[in-house]
């Protein structure tokens, strides 16, 4: 009897499983818009990149940009999708002032691509395969600009007709962190393809999330909410964390989740209900009669296939196999295709890949990050790094001076040899000069000398450090150590 008195919730919070599916909208970086000849550029004066077609003026007709299709096919292939042999568009009908035709040309029942997948690495280093439900081509809408002074809204149509690829994952992500990892993996693949800027801040990559919870192990999905208005990958993760918590609390307190769209508010760090299923649009999709369906030729598919570069996952496996990099190192290097290129170029010049990798993932990345420099734009060349590494090998630079050299090369843009010469960074291996330094140190640090003599070998390190400081890092530390030992043992003898 007693056990019935306390009513437990059907499922305690810890036993809920979160289910997330992501919809990514990617602006394709084609030269012109998807259905007209206007330039596809970001950040111009409002309404300067428009024509009668993208303005949807009466009587105008869309014509498909072949490059947008090729980019879409590239994405389809990179995500190992099935490709629909016939390209067909549909109209998605709804009213909004940024949509000049009153409908968006999109794809409904026959997306360019479907049934693909993406490998991603989770935070704990596991790889996981996430299935891609579909990916389709569509046109972007314009942008509303709110004019607070006049209490009115203006429309900028520059963005109207920018090619978009919508990439929809299966609901197979089970935590906000996994969603984040998926986005990273997707972005990396897309960056390798050179089909988009993938810049969430500029809006060239946008992400909506469908999220629901269910009892762990349960088959049926819970009622989902759709989250919008996240402006960064981190915001996606934070919004999902919030929403996951909110849903658990609602269910735990006996409430029910309502199917609705919720907007993420960055400032308030909360999601706000926008519209429920009852208010949801009926988009009245139907085939776009202005664009006749057409077959994708085998020749086009072959041509696009040939243009696909080595993708992150293949590169990762090759780097681990071919260069014997650790998975950790390989992952860092392939996470930016420019770093990967840099690395490979270095390996052509220098045989010790581990050493290249240590320099690349260590000092070089640190110094670039400190300077907010991007691998894509630096003048620093693989030859430069290899020169520095070789000089260390040949005792011409100390490790410290090598790092200093690197900094100055990055700052000044001068070549490695001139930096070493002009800043006097060359390692001093001239024993008479080094002996002078050691003599000074022995005079100045009698107590340390005493410790060394008493057999405290580690105190030698202190003196070597002081020698490096005195020489501004240029002294050859190995030789310094040898000289100290020799001198002290000599004195001992004397």
């Amino acid at each position: 009897m007693n056990q019935n008195i306390e009513q437990k919730p059907a499922c305690p919070a810890g036993r809920y499983e979160t289910v997330i599916g992501l919809e990514v909208h990617l602006q394709l970086s084609t030269q012109t818009k998807i259905f007209c000849g206007c330039a596809n550029v970001f950040g111009r004066e409002p309404n300067t990149q428009t024509c009668p077609v993208c303005l949807g003026l009466p009587g105008t007709l869309p014509v498909l940009n072949k490059m947008a299709l090729e980019y879409a096919l590239k994405i389809a292939m990179a995500l190992d999708c099935q490709i629909n042999p016939v390209i067909k568009f549909d109209r998605k009908n709804y009213y909004y002032p940024d949509l000049p035709k009153g409908y968006q040309i999109s794809q409904f029942d026959k997306p360019v691509a479907y049934d693909g997948y993406l490998w991603m690495t989770t935070a704990d280093g596991q790889t996981k395969k996430i299935n891609i439900k579909r990916a389709h081509l569509e046109e972007d809408a314009g942008k509303l600009v709110h004019d607070d002074r006049n209490n009115s809204s203006l429309v900028d149509y520059n963005r109207t007709g920018t090619p978009l690829m919508e990439i929809v994952s299966e609901p197979e992500l089970h935590s906000p962190q996994e969603a984040y990892d998926y986005l990273q993996a997707l972005k990396l693949t897309l960056e390798y393809l050179h089909v988009s800027d993938c810049d969430m801040e500029k809006g060239s990559l946008r992400c909506d999330a469908n999220v629901s919870i269910r009892e762990a192990g349960a088959k049926p999905f819970g009622i989902k909410t759709e989250l919008k208005n996240m402006n960064s990958f981190k915001a996606v993760r934070t919004a999902l964390e919030f929403e996951e918590k909110r849903q658990r609390e609602v269910v735990a307190s006996g409430g029910r989740i309502i199917q609705e769209t919720r907007l993420w508010s960055e400032e308030k760090e909360t999601t706000i209900a926008m519209r429920s299923k009852e208010e949801a649009h009926d988009y009245r999709y139907f085939p776009e009669p202005d664009l006749v369906p057409f077959k994708i030729s085998e020749a086009l598919i072959e041509e696009v296939r040939r243009s696909i570069p080595e993708l992150p996952r293949q590169k990762f496996e090759r780097f681990v196999g071919e260069y014997k990099l650790s998975e950790y190192d390989a992952r860092i290097i392939i996470a930016d295709q420019h770093i990967a290129h840099f690395f490979e170029a270095c390996t052509k010049l220098y045989g010790d890949t581990k050493k290249i990798c240590n320099w690349l993932n260590g000092p070089l990345l640190q110094e670039l990050n400190a300077r907010k420099m991007d691998f894509k734009n630096i003048k620093f060349k693989p030859e430069d790094l290899v020169t520095i590494i070789r000089k260390v090998d040949q005792n011409e630079l100390s490790n410290l001076s090598a790092k200093e050299t690197l900094k100055q090369v990055l700052d000044t843009g001068k070549d490695v040899v001139s930096v070493i010469r002009d800043a006097g960074l060359a390692q001093v291996s001239d024993s008479s000069a080094l002996e002078g330094i050691v003599d000074e140190l022995i005079r100045e640090h009698q107590n340390v000398v005493a410790q060394i003599r008493e057999g405290k070998a580690s105190a030698i390190g202190f003196l070597v450090g002081q020698a490096m400081r005195k020489s501004q890092g240029k002294a050859n530390p190995k030789m310094i150590g040898e000289i100290i030992q020799r001198k002290l043992s000599n004195k001992n003898d004397a």
């Binding site: 009668p52 009466p58 009587g59 007709l61 014509v63 009908n93 009669p289």
Partner: protein, 480 residues
């Protein structure tokens, strides 16, 4: 005969022989418009520089005055589809057909009246009021290209352009006693034609005779990279098809087109026309186009669905009419949409938008729109099958002659039925021409429709020309 009463090819002969000038022809047309358009109301506006201040260029190859239906964009000129919602809209570009006409030296006279957005069969649904039939001003000219047909029939234009979505060129041509051609879907670019139903619309010539029809189609036809639905096929020299010879041609007569509802006088005229062609050596065969009875229903599902989407852009945001109410309970945006569309669109437009929205709505799509598409395919297959054995098909253009103004305005369904013979050509994409084939007892014109295989407009011209060479009807002019 006055210059404006001649055909384009007759005028071109006179021009070639230096017996007239483009200026004289244009003056004759403008004078005629001044005299008679008060009664006919074929035009809704004349082109700003058509009144004579701009001399037509002397070396233009075909400097013939032409009337343009008010749904074809002309750069800088108001183009309104005879709808209040497009009030003040001036396209910043020329339709492809207008570009081609301008290159040929055409003199654009003005914009002709039409049913709002081409929704109608009588030109009564125009925000400018109805056009009158030049043969009897109490009657409608047909529609929706009623202004263009009436302008040509009253010699207020030498020829004109119309658009045909379900019969909008052929039915008014039939009612007004002129020649109207709906080309194969894709033969003429739709770029710059303000869309009614994109998968059905075609621009085509309305002319006084078949030779002019062939000439004008030659000017406007051809592939256009701006229209993905236009066909990338060469355009033949249609004047080569103008031969007085139908010997050995096999022509079908669909039994489904001669059932109840057809005016006996129309039936007699068609039978007489068949006899003329038989005497010239054509053979006639009764055929069945089994899905004919579903054509009208199919058409009103497909066409209104597309129209409901095509007209969504008239929202008051960018161009045309914009209205607000003073109702503060409504959000300003929704209020603008509602007021603009309420004030700007006429009843028939609203009716069709509602019909189309309904058949595309979730829960109804499969039963209406999708089924409509399937039946459309069946109707097309009927024609494909028939044309395996035939060169052409002959039917009446409309079941009756022109009806009285106001007679059908309160009965949309009976209005819709005046297109029953023309709709199938749009649904199946094939070309069809309407030519005059006689008069009723009260002197109203009757039209004969000829249909052919896709892109075989030449066959239409050949049969129509042969008929015309052996009959007097095309020489008749309306008694204004």
């Amino acid at each position: 005969m006055k210059l404006n009463e001649l055909t384009a090819h007759e005028l071109l002969d006179l021009l070639k022989a230096k017996k007239t000038t483009p200026r004289e022809i244009q003056d004759a047309v403008l004078t005629r418009i001044q005299q008679s358009d008060q009664q006919v109301k074929a035009y809704v506006r004349l082109r700003s520089n058509a009144s004579g201040e701009q001399e037509p260029s002397g070396d233009a190859s075909i400097p013939i005055p032409i009337g343009i239906k008010d749904n074809i964009c002309v750069i800088g000129e108001p183009t309104t589809c005879c709808s209040r919602i497009l009030e003040g809209f001036k396209p910043p570009y020329d339709a492809t057909v207008i570009q081609k006409l301008k290159e040929s030296g055409a003199q654009l006279i003005g914009s002709t009246n039409m049913d709002e957005f081409a929704f109608g069969s009588s030109t009564e649904n125009s925000c400018y009021g109805p056009t009158r039939n030049p043969w009897n001003k109490a009657c409608v000219p047909g529609g929706s290209s009623g202004g263009s047909a009436a302008a040509v029939a009253s010699s207020e234009a030498i020829w004109a352009l119309g658009s045909d979505t379900g019969g909008s060129i052929r039915q008014p041509a039939s009612f007004c006693g002129v020649v109207g051609l709906k080309p194969t879907y894709g033969r003429v670019s739709r770029y710059g034609l303000i869309a009614f139903a994109s998968s059905l619309d075609q621009i085509g010539p309305i002319t006084k005779d078949v030779e002019d029809s062939a000439l004008l189609l030659g000017i406007i036809a051809g592939y256009d990279e701006r229209d993905s639905t236009s066909a990338d096929l060469p355009v033949p020299d249609y004047t080569q098809a103008l031969v007085n010879d139908v010997k050995g041609l096999k022509i079908g007569i669909p039994k489904e087109y001669f059932v109840e509802g057809i005016d006996p006088q129309v039936r007699e005229a068609i039978n007489a026309a068949i006899d003329v062609l038989k005497k010239r050596g054509a053979t006639f065969h009764e055929i069945s186009l089994a899905h004919t009875e579903y054509a009208t229903a199919t058409y009103y599902i497909v066409a209104t669905a597309e129209a409901s989407s095509n007209l969504a852009r008239y929202d008051g945001v960018q161009y045309g009419l914009r209205r607000h109410s003073k109702d503060v309970r409504k959000t300003p945006l929704i209020d603008m949409y509602e007021e603009t569309r309420d004030v700007g669109l006429g009843n028939e437009a609203k009716r069709r938008i509602m019909l189309g929205t309904y058949s595309l709505s979730s829960g109804y799509y499969d039963d209406y729109y999708l089924k409509g598409l399937k039946v459309r395919t069946l109707i097309k297959q009927d024609f494909d099958k028939a044309f395996q054995k035939l060169d052409a098909i002959i039917t009446p253009t409309a079941p009756t002659t022109a009806f009285k103004i106001g007679e059908k305005t309160d009965d949309p369904l009976s209005m819709y039925l005046s297109d029953i013979y023309t709709i199938s050509a749009n649904l199946s994409g094939i070309p069809a021409i309407s030519i005059p084939c006689g008069f009723s007892k009260d002197r109203m014109p009757i039209g004969l429709q000829i249909l052919a295989k896709p892109f075989d407009e030449a066959m239409l011209f050949r049969i129509a020309y042969t008929y015309e060479q052996n009959t007097p009807w095309h020489k008749e002019r309306a008694p204004l």
